[in-house]
Amino acid sequence: MKPRSRFILSVLAFGYAFLYLPLASVIVYSFNDSRLATVWGGFSTRWYGELLDNDQVLDSAFLSLRIALTVATLATIFGTMAGMALSRFSRFRGRTLFSGMITSPMVMPEVITGLSLLLLFVSMQQLVGWPAQRGFGTITIAHTTFAMAYVAIIIQSRLSAMDESLEEAAMDLGGRPLRVVFDITLPLIAPAMIAGWLLAFTLSLDDLVISSFVSGPGASTLPMLIFSKVKLGVTPDINALATLIILFVSSGVLIAWWVSRRSQRQSA
């Protein structure tokens, strides 16, 4: 690949600059004193202060966090079950439909998922009177449905990469299937479950379109609030909020990477 490598290197440099320059510019402009988001008026942290005084932002952030915590936990439980069903119970009736329903929510355009779930909730309300109002509950159900698909795929690929011999040995030694699952399988896939939980948490926290459909009046998540402000253009307080989120997420991901690399080195 030597004759090509200069080309490859320049594409790599361009690609990474393309991915990271927009984020860098948001961070820089969040410290801009000027209210006009595009004119540099000197260094200031005042937008961060205004952000922390804004009750609307804090309320919607709190709602989003509550939803994301619930969704991540439910999606990890259901997704782990689905992943185990797909990789360990090889034959059962309706398996093709099941695996189709696991992979489809991941690529389904969000406008379709959102619209279909809202129409379901409205029809259920007409028929059985539940859900009486839309908000925390309906958003949680909607997010769990697509997030569990991601968890199931992570668990499934971890289980199919994993040797079944440990589980078989435990069964040969007289372990009952249920005990084997809790004593052998679950501890082995715990890292994949943590990864799935984090992914589900992030997906839920990030979702705008599906939440907009299934939410009711009065319940607005953080992305819904951001979207309603951003529609009108670039604003300095959103720059500050974006910077906080970017720094929080990046440091979390980098720490996770560093920890897993260190534990890999120790076990190697």
């Binding site: 004759p3 490859i8 594409v11 361009f14 690609g15 991915l19 990271y20 320059l21 984020l23 510019s25 988001a37 595009t38 004119v39 259901f78 079950m81 185990m84 069903a85 119970f89 695996s99 329903m101 992979t103 690529v107 389904m108 355009p109 969000e110 406008v111 379709i112 619209l115 279909s116 129409l119 379901l120 029809s123 909607a142 769990t144 449905t145 569990m148 499934q156 690929s157 199919s160 007289g174 009952r176 249920l178 992030t202 926290l205 990030d206 705008l208 379109v209 459909f213 951001i226 951003v230 529609k231 253009g233 670039v234 720059n239 974006a242 989120i245 970017i246 997420v249 991901v253 980098l254």
Partner: protein, 299 residues
Amino acid sequence: MSTAAGLRHDLLWQKVTIAIPYVWLLVYFLAPFAIILKISLADPVIAQPPFTPFFDSQGDITATSDNYSFLLTDKLYAVTYLKSVFMALVATLLCLALGFPMAYGIARADESTRNLLLLLIVLPFWISFLLRVYAWMGLLNNYGVINNVLMWLNVIDKPIAFMYTDFAIYVGLVYSYLPFMVLPLYATLERMDLDLVEAAQDLGARPSQAFWDVTWPLARPGVIAGCLLVFIPAMGEYVIPYLLGGPESLLIGRVLFDEFFVNRDWPLASAVAIVLLLILVVPIVFLQRSQARDAEGHA
């Protein structure tokens, strides 16, 4: 100790493991499509909810195909569907053109750099999608960073209108979906045996020949998966055309959203969704086949 009662208990538990996620997906994923289909056959009315019931008071079915014939006869919708397909295709090809050399470079880097480079591809995916699109609003603005830099360098003397154009939508689509292209490409390129390319070159193949005859066919599963993972969600994109595109760049995701929230025409929005779904059925089934094959290949 495995007793008969214990074994029955375990089998029951196995059934429960399958049943809970299965029933959840049937109720919250599959059943809603039947409801969309049902409502797409209704008439809009000013009521709560704003569509006519499927059965009238005599118990007769009141289905109508008005929404579909409207979609087929009104030129606006046909043009919007075509434009959405076209823009999603172009964005997919742009992602491929940028993502392939990147994935190739990452797969050929030494191991410690490779992990860091991969991490940097995945990282933006964890940061809010909405905020990443928003970041481009600040760059592409008439008084934004790019125009300021170009004017400062005296390349231009008037700002270029990047925002609210198709160009801005392409930037947003490629930027948001690039990781979905790079990761599957990387997975196949990393597994590829580099000796094959060297053998081809040793036997006298020019680099371009070795690429098209050896590398490209071997990378094809990754190319297909990456393209589908970009194309399918890009088709229904709402946020990017709304924030970066102009009033003329109507994509179908945005039309559906507006039909629902602005015009409150639920039946028409449902019909728009059903037609979009019909367009996407083929690529979605294709993607599932390729992923199932991939999973078998690993086992």
